[in-house]
Symmetry: C2
Subunit: 279 residues, 2 copies
Amino acid sequence: MFPQDIEVIKVDGTKERFNGKKLEESLRRSGADSLVASEVVAHVGKELVNGITTSDIYRHAFSVLRNKQKMASARYSLRRSLLALGPTGFPFEKFIGEMFKRMGFSVLLDQMVQGKCASHEMDIVSWNGEKLIMVEAKYHHEQAYKSDLKVALYVKARFDDFQDGSFSYGNRTKLDEGWLITNTKFTEKAIHYAQCSGVKLVGWNYPERGNLHDLIATAGIHPITCLTTLSFGEKQTLMEQGIVLCEDFIAQKAKLKALGWGDEQIEAVAAESILLCST
Amino acid sequence: MFPQDIEVIKVDGTKERFNGKKLEESLRRSGADSLVASEVVAHVGKELVNGITTSDIYRHAFSVLRNKQKMASARYSLRRSLLALGPTGFPFEKFIGEMFKRMGFSVLLDQMVQGKCASHEMDIVSWNGEKLIMVEAKYHHEQAYKSDLKVALYVKARFDDFQDGSFSYGNRTKLDEGWLITNTKFTEKAIHYAQCSGVKLVGWNYPERGNLHDLIATAGIHPITCLTTLSFGEKQTLMEQGIVLCEDFIAQKAKLKALGWGDEQIEAVAAESILLCST
């Protein structure tokens, strides 16, 4: 894992062989969990050169740790914010719709789409010049709740029912991709089935690239539920008004005023929105 | 609806034109509901001949009514007995399995069946020399609960996943039919989808011929829950022992004795089983 026989220079000027274990222990003492600590050591170890000082190593290690923890903490916070988009599934659908819009798609929510054998309520229909994507969005309030094989199966049958259909979304007449998006995870069986049968799954930590947090980061959006200056009830009110993005809060000050919010509160929340949501 | 100008002979020997309304009213006074009363009048009216006496007409009408009510009452009782096969779905699956056996099929319950993209838990696999049928059994405790489009969709995707499969049940290597059986009803959308996509649905009152009560009547079986000499708890105990047919009760006296039942109770229940369940 490390370059062999790297000599590092200690504070007193003496030399010694690099000791990854000692570095890992000091990272753990500073609060990193064992997985992150060993990742940081591995990362730093790969960039060692002969004659580096221990201070340089520790400075480098702690800056890598800060970045890793910041990303882990942002991801953790996003996961919680998505779970808070309840209790109904609609704010999550709207959030996903906004995500597609930011990625350059036209979007319609809650469409009845006629298939060969049934009409189906599609949560999100999104298209650009090259692709027509239909999306089933599964919101779960509990992180532990996984979308299972039965969900993947009925979504597959639904997309099959659209296979011979002719649509009219922009210049797209055929369904290109059927997606099942959830804010939590999928069971192993659902993943295996979907990979084999051609249903595209997007969930928490799945797939490795292009998963839900990757797409949200690409789109550059932030759920309104991430704001700490709003109470639970205030977030609910905003979501009922169709405001699910931090970014929307900033844009809709007038609407909030009409809802009876005071200037001071609006500015406080807007300030947090700008701070948290424009990163 | 009636032969024109039929003259009937009254008790006092005088003649008058047949009056369906009067007959219907007397049937309703005797307890028939309006639908059944008008059905009986229609049935009797079609068989009228000139010179028939009013007594003959009434005798005929009431015998038709008795048959109709008996069938309606038996069907009503069967529906309730099927609902009582809860609280889990397993007794219903076992009951359906027994139904297939009586219709000459070999039957396996709760099989993991490997499809192209997933292994699926099939409630009932049944086959004879000519057909391999796989069945998803949906038990609902409430008559009002209907199996909907999503159920039909995932069942369809599951059967699709078996389409290219090679099996080994008797001499059958290919899946011939995929059935979705429920003890209640299906939504209109589920019915339309299934008809169009080739999933066979069997439920309460659906389809018109070959529905669940028709199949049960053909198989000549009766759910244990139809017995009035058993308490709710006793029925539960028997179902936990895998006894779901009236007919099984008669056959399993020794097992019941081993469970601590007294001779007198066993004989009382067996007597009712023979009376009710051997019709």
